[in-house]
C-alpha cells in the first residue's frame, strides 16, 4: 500500500514537472533542445518508474505508531523554530532550547534533556567561536525581523 501511494505521488509530481516544463518559453536563438527537453525526459522516466511502483509494489515498511509520529512532527516543528530563532534569539538560547527539546524526543528524561541542551549549546558555541573562529551571535540581538 505504501509503495502504491508513493508511486502515485511520484506520477503526479512527474506529470506536474512535465507540464511545468512545457510552459517554459524557449528564446528563438537557443540550442536545438532548449530548456524544456531535459526536464521532459526526466519526468517521463519518473512517470514510468512511478507506474512500475504502483503496479509492482514491494513489502510496505514498518511505519511507526502514532505516538512516535507525533514525536517526529514535533521534532520537525522544533527544527523549523530553531531555524527562525537563530538570528533574533542568538545562538546560545535557541540551541539550548532546540537541543533540549530534541533530546527529550529521543529519550524522555526531563533533567537529562535540559542538561544536554545546556551542555551542547555552551560546548558547541565555545568550539565554534574559539576553536574554529566562526562568528556566531551568542545573545539575543532583539527582534529584528
Amino acid at each position: 500500500m505504501s509503495d502504491r501511494l508513493t508511486g502515485l505521488i511520484v506520477m503526479v509530481v512527474a506529470l506536474a514537472f512535465f507540464v511545468g516544463a512545457t510552459q517554459l518559453e524557449s528564446p528563438f536563438f537557443a540550442d536545438p533542445l532548449g530548456p524544456k527537453a531535459f526536464p521532459m525526459m526526466i519526468s517521463s522516466v519518473a512517470l514510468i518508474a512511478g507506474m512500475v511502483m504502483v503496479l509492482r509494489p514491494d513489502e510496505p515498511p514498518q511505519w511507526p505508531e502514532l505516538v512516535t509520529i507525533g514525536r517526529l512532527i514535533l521534532a520537525t516543528i522544533i527544527l523549523v523554530f530553531y531555524a527562525y530563532s537563530l538570528k533574533p534569539f542568538g545562538f546560545l538560547l535557541s540551541t539550548a532550547v532546540a537541543a533540549a527539546a530534541l533530546s527529550y524526543q529521543i529519550k524522555t528524561n526531563f533533567i537529562n534533556s535540559i542538561l544536554t541542551g545546556l551542555g551542547l549549546s555552551v560546548g558547541l558555541f565555545l568550539i565554534f567561536k574559539f576553536a574554529l573562529g566562526l562568528s556566531l551571535s551568542a545573545f539575543p540581538r532583539g527582534f529584528l525581523w
Binding site: 505504501s2 509503495d3 508513493t6 511520484v10 514537472f17 516544463a21 517554459l24 518559453e25 537557443a30 540550442d31 536545438p32 533542445l33 532548449g34 530548456p35 527537453a37 531535459f38 526536464p39 526526466i42 519526468s43 522516466v45 519518473a46 518508474a49 512511478g50 512500475v52 511502483m53 514491494d58 515498511p61 511507526p64 512516535t68 514525536r71 517526529l72 521534532a75 520537525t76 527544527l79 523549523v80 530553531y82 531555524a83 537563530l86 538570528k87 545562538f91 532546540a98 537541543a99 533540549a100 530534541l102 533530546s103 524526543q105 529521543i106 529519550k107 528524561n109 537529562n112 534533556s113 541542551g117 551542555g119 551542547l120 549549546s121 558547541l124 565554534f128 574554529l132 566562526l134 556566531l136
Partner: protein, 488 residues
Amino acid sequence: MALSPSTLMLAVIGCVLGTAIGALPGLGPSNGVAILIPLSFSLGLDATAALVLMTAVYYGAMYGGRISSILLNIPGDEPAMMTTLDGYPMAKQGRAGDALVLSGVASFVGAFLATLGLMLLAPLLAQIAFLFGPAEYFALYLLAFCTLGGIGSSNQAKAAIAVCLGLGIAMVGVDNTTGLTRFTGGSLHLFDGIDFLVAIVGLFAVSEVFIFIESHGRDSSIGVKLEKVTIPFKQIFETRWTMLRSSVIGFVAGVLPGAGASLGSFLAYMAEKSIARDKSGFGRGEARGVAAPEAGNNSAAGGALVPMLTLGVPGSGTTAVLLALLMTLNITPGPLLFTERPEVVWGLIASLLIANVVLLVLNVPLVKVFSRVLQVPAAILLPGVTMVSFVGIYSLSGSYFDLLLMICFGVLGYFLRKMSIPTVPVILGILLGGHMEVSLRRAMVLSDGDWTYLFSSSVAIGLWVAAIAGFIAPLFLRRFLSVSAINK
C-alpha cells in the same frame, strides 16, 4: 608541501574525528564529510588543507565503521556490513581486540595499495579522458546513474525515481544557456538553484535524527566490552595473501562507476570464501573473513577516487560527497585537473597516504578510546549532530531559507529511507544534473539536432551498452544471489 606540521595536525584531527564519527552507528563517511564540508568552507581553509582534512575524515570514518561492526554487530556504514559476519563472532569469542587490529591492518593494506593504484592509473586514465566529448560524457553520466542502484539494489524503479528526483532538483534555478528561470515558482531564493550542500546535509544528517527518534534511541550498551588489546601478529601474517587479493578485487570494483566500497567488500569476502579450502570458519570468527572485506572496501574506496578525479564522475556515494567538497573549493575534477592543477591531485594522493599511516598508528593504541565513543547516548549525540549541521549550513549563507530547505530535505530523506528509495542517487543527480544536461545540449548543438551523434563514437556506444547492462543486471542477479544464499 603536504608534509608541513600544520597539515599533519589537520590529518590527525581529521582521522580522530572521522574515526569517532564512523564508529557511531548510522553516521558514516558520507554523513561525516557532508556535515563538515560547510564548516571547512567557512573556516577558509585553502584547497590542500581542506582536502587533507576531509580525506582524513573520510578514511577515518571507514576505519571507525569497523568498530561498531565488530563490537555491536551494527555496521557503522554500508561497506562495513560484511565485517559483521566474522567480526562480531570473533568479538563474542573474546577476540574483539584481535578483530579490531586485524581490520585496521587490512584496511591499511587495502587503502595503501589502492593509493598506489591511483597514482599509477589516474594519469593514464586522464589521457583517455581527452577522448571524451559531450556525447561520451553524457553516456558516462548515464552509466553512473544506471549502475548506482548497485548490485544490491532490490528495486530498479526506486533507483530510477531517486535519480530523476535528483536530476529534477538540479533543474531548479536559472538555466545557464538561456538565462530563463525554471521551476522557481517566482521565489527569489531559488534563483540560484538548490545548493547541493543543503541537500546533502539534509538528506544524510537531518534525516538521521528522524530515524533515531523513530527507533526511540535504542541504547547501544548491548555491545561487547573491550578488554586488553594485543596485536595478533600471527593472524596478520597468515592473512597477508587474503589482504592482497582482496585489495586488488576491491580496487577494480571501486574504479567502476556506480560500484563502491560496499561492492568491494562483498566481492572480496565472496572470493575469499570460495577459494578457501576450509570454509567452515567463515561466519564464525574466521580471520580471513575480517581481513578480506576490510581490505576490499578500503581499496574500493581508493579505487572510487579514480573515476572521480579523472572523469569527474563519482564511483560511489562517498566519493559523491568528496566531489561536492571539491566543487565547493572550485576544483573541477576531470582530465584538465591533471594538467592545470596537478598540485591538487598530488596533494590529495599525499594526504591519502598520510591519512592511512596516521590511522594505522592511531588505531592500534587508541581503538579502546574510540570504542568508548559508542557509549555516548544517542540522546546527546543526535541533537549535537543536528546543531552542527545547522551551524554549518547557516555559516555558509546566513539565510534561514537554506535552513528550512535543509529541514525539508531531512523530512524527504526520512521518507525516502522508509520507502527504501536510495538517497545517494538523489545527491548525485543534484551534483551532476547540470553537467549532464549541458553535455546533452552541447552534443545537440554540435550535431545540429541529430540524435545519432550520441552514438557516434565507439566509446559512447560502449558506455551506453554498459549503462543498459548495469541497469538491467541487478534484476537478474537478484534472483541468482537469493537462490545461492538459500543454498548456503
